[in-house]
Symmetry: C4
Subunit: 193 residues, 4 copies
C-alpha cells in the first residue's frame, strides 16, 4: 500500500483550505482606498493563516517522507490533523471580521494549538514504526523541541488574548518565525538521502 494517495489527498485538502480562505476576503462594494483599509484585519488574518498552512504543508511533506507503510493509525492521525486545519478558514474569518477581539484571537490560537497537538500525534504514530533512524528521522526528532515550544507559545497566546490580544499576535508571530527559518538539520538530512 503506497503512500502516494495519502499525500495526494492531504495535498488536495491543504490546497483547498489555503485557497478558500480568500473567499472570506469579501469584495468591498465601495471603490475607495478606505474600503480596502476597512478589510485590513481580514487581510492580515488571511496572511497569517496562509503562512501557517504553508508551514504545515512543508512539515507534513518531510514527515511523510519517512513513511514506508501506511497503516490505519497513520490514516486516522492524518485525518485528525486535516480536520483541525480545516477549521482554520472558520476561526480566521471570525477573528478577521471582528478586528482581533480577544475571544476571537483566543479561539484562533486554540485552533492552532489543536493543529499542533494533532501534528504531534501524527509524528508519534509515524515515529513508532521506526526502530532505527535515518538522518531525516533523527532531524525530525530534534525538531520536536520546536513543536513543544510552539505548544507553549499557543497556550500563552490563548491566555494573553483575554488581556492584550496584541500580545497573542506577538506569540503567534514568534511561532511563525521559528518555523519559517529553515531547519539546518533537516536540510542536511535531505541532502544526505
Amino acid at each position: 500500500m503506497t503512500k502516494s494517495r495519502l499525500e495526494a489527498f492531504s495535498d488536495g485538502v491543504l490546497a483547498i483550505i489555503i485557497t478558500i480562505m480568500v473567499l472570506e476576503l469579501k469584495v468591498p462594494h465601495e471603490v475607495s482606498i478606505q474600503a480596502l483599509l476597512d478589510i485590513y484585519h481580514v487581510f492580515v488574518s488571511y496572511v497569517f493563516s496562509f503562512v501557517f498552512v504553508g508551514i504545515y504543508w512543508g512539515n507534513h511533506h518531510h514527515l511523510l517522507h519517512t513513511v514506508h507503510h501506511v497503516t490505519p493509525k497513520i490514516i486516522w492521525a492524518n485525518m485528525g490533523l486535516l480536520f483541525f486545519l480545516s477549521l482554520i478558514p472558520f476561526t480566521t474569518a471570525w477573528m478577521g471580521e471582528n478586528e482581533f477581539e480577544g475571544l476571537t484571537v483566543a479561539l484562533y490560537s486554540l485552533n492552532l494549538l489543536f493543529c499542533a497537538v494533532a501534528f504531534y500525534i501524527l509524528q508519534t504514530v509515524i515515529m513508532a514504526h521506526h526502530s532505527h533512524g535515518t538522518a531525516l528521522i533523527t532531524a525530525l526528532k530534534k525538531q520536536e523541541k520546536k513543536g513543544m515550544l510552539s505548544l507553549l507559545l499557543y497556550a500563552l497566546a490563548i491566555a494573553g488574548a483575554f488581556f492584550y490580544p496584541v500580545l497573542s499576535g506577538i506569540f503567534i508571530l514568534i511561532t511563525v518565525v521559528i518555523w519559517i527559518i529553515p531547519d539546518k538539520n533537516i536540510e542536511r538530512a535531505l541532502r544526505e538521502d
Copy 2:
C-alpha cells in the same frame, strides 16, 4: 489504461467535499461564547460528515488497490459513488441548520444509505473482474458483511428519525464506530502484499 487518474480525480472530489463543508460553518457576527454554542448543531454535523467522508476515502483507497484494469463500468460506478457523496455537504447543512429536526436527519441518513449502496455497486463491479482472490480481495469480501450491517443501520436511522431523531444519531454513531475500528483482515492482507 492506468488507474492513477481515476484515483487522482476521486481524491480531488473527496478532498473538495470534505473541505467545502466548512463553508457551511457560517461565521457568527457576534463575539461571544453563546454565538459559538449557537452553531453547535452545525459543528457536530460537520464532524460526523468529515468522519464519514474520511471512512469512504479509506475504503475507496483499499478497493481501488485491487483494480488492475479500469473499465467504463468501473468509471461510472465510481461516478455514482462520488455523486451521492457530493450531496453530503447539502444534507449536512440542512440537518445542522435545523438542529437535527426529524425530516432533516432522515434525509441525511438516506444520503448515507445511497452512498453505501453506491459503494456496494462499485465493489461488486470491481470484484466481478477477479476470478481468484489475493489476500486483500478475500479481506474485502469478508468486509461486505459490515457493509450489509451498515445498510440496515442507515435504514433504521431513517425510520427512527420520524420518531426520535436522537435514536438515528445513535445508529449513525454505531456505523461510524464499526468502520473506524481498523479491520484486522485488511491490515494483515496489506502487510502480506
Copy 3:
C-alpha cells in the same frame, strides 16, 4: 516534458467544477418535503451537469492517453476546454433557479455546444501529431461522428429552447445517453494496448 501535470491540473479543475456545483443547491430554510420539492429544478440541473462533466472527464482521460509530447498548442486547447467547462456551474445555476425557462435552457445548451467545440479542437490538435494510429487513436477517430452528432443535438437544443424547453431537455438527454453507453471500439482498443 511529461503529460502528468497536464492531467493533474485538468483533474483538479474538473473535480472542483463537478463539486462546487453542489454549493448552488441552496439549503432550504424551511423543514418540509415541499421545501425539498421546491429545489427540484436545481437538483435535476445538477444531475445533468454532474453527468456531463463526468463524460468529459472520461473522454479527456482517453484522449490524453494518446499524447506523448505536450506542446503549447495542446496546453492552450486544453485551457479552452477547461474554460468552457468552468462556466457550467454558472449556466446550470441560472437554468435551475429559473425553472428551465427558455432563455436559460438555450444558454445552457450553448455552453454545452462550446464545450463540445473546444473538445473537438483539442482532439484535432492532439490527432495532428499522430502520423500513424494505434488501436486507441483509430477508435477515437471513429468516435468523432458521435461528436458531430452531439454538436447537431446541442444546436437543436438551443433552437428548441425558444419554443419548447422540454424539447431541449430531450435533445440533451439523447446526448447524455449516446455518450454514457460505453464505446465498444475504445474498450477493445484499451484492452489491446
Copy 4:
C-alpha cells in the same frame, strides 16, 4: 526529496484559484439578455484572470521542470507566488463588479505586478542552483527579458488606471499576447530534452 508534491500542491492551488473565480459570476435573478449583458464586466474580468492563471501554470510547469532538488528556499518562493496568485479572485471580483473603475483596475494591475515579481524571485532562486545550463535553462534565461517587459507594462497599467482605465486594459492585453505566443526557444529546448 522529490518535487512531485510541490507540483501537486501548486497544481491544486492553481486549479482552485482558476475555478473559484466562477463563483463571482453571480447568477442573475432575472431571465433576460439584458441580465446577462449586465455582468459583462465581471465576465471579461473572469476571462482575463483565467488566461493569466493559465499562463502562470504553463510557466510554472516549465520552470519546475528544471528543478532537481527542492530546497526550503524554493518552497517559500513558491508559496510567495501562490499567495499573490490567490489574491487574483479578490482583485478580479472588485474590478468586475465596479465596471473597471480606475482604482480597481490599478489594484488588479498591482496584483499582477506582485505575481510577476514573485515569479521572478522563484526563477532566481531556482536558477541559482544551476551552475551550467541545459537547453531549457538557457531558454528560460532568455525569457527573463519578457518578464522584465511585463513588469514595465504592469507598472504602466497601474499608472494609466488613474487617468484612462482603458489604457491599462490595453497594457494588460499586450502582456497576455506576449505570453500566450509560444516561445520558440522553449519549445525547441523541450524537444531536445
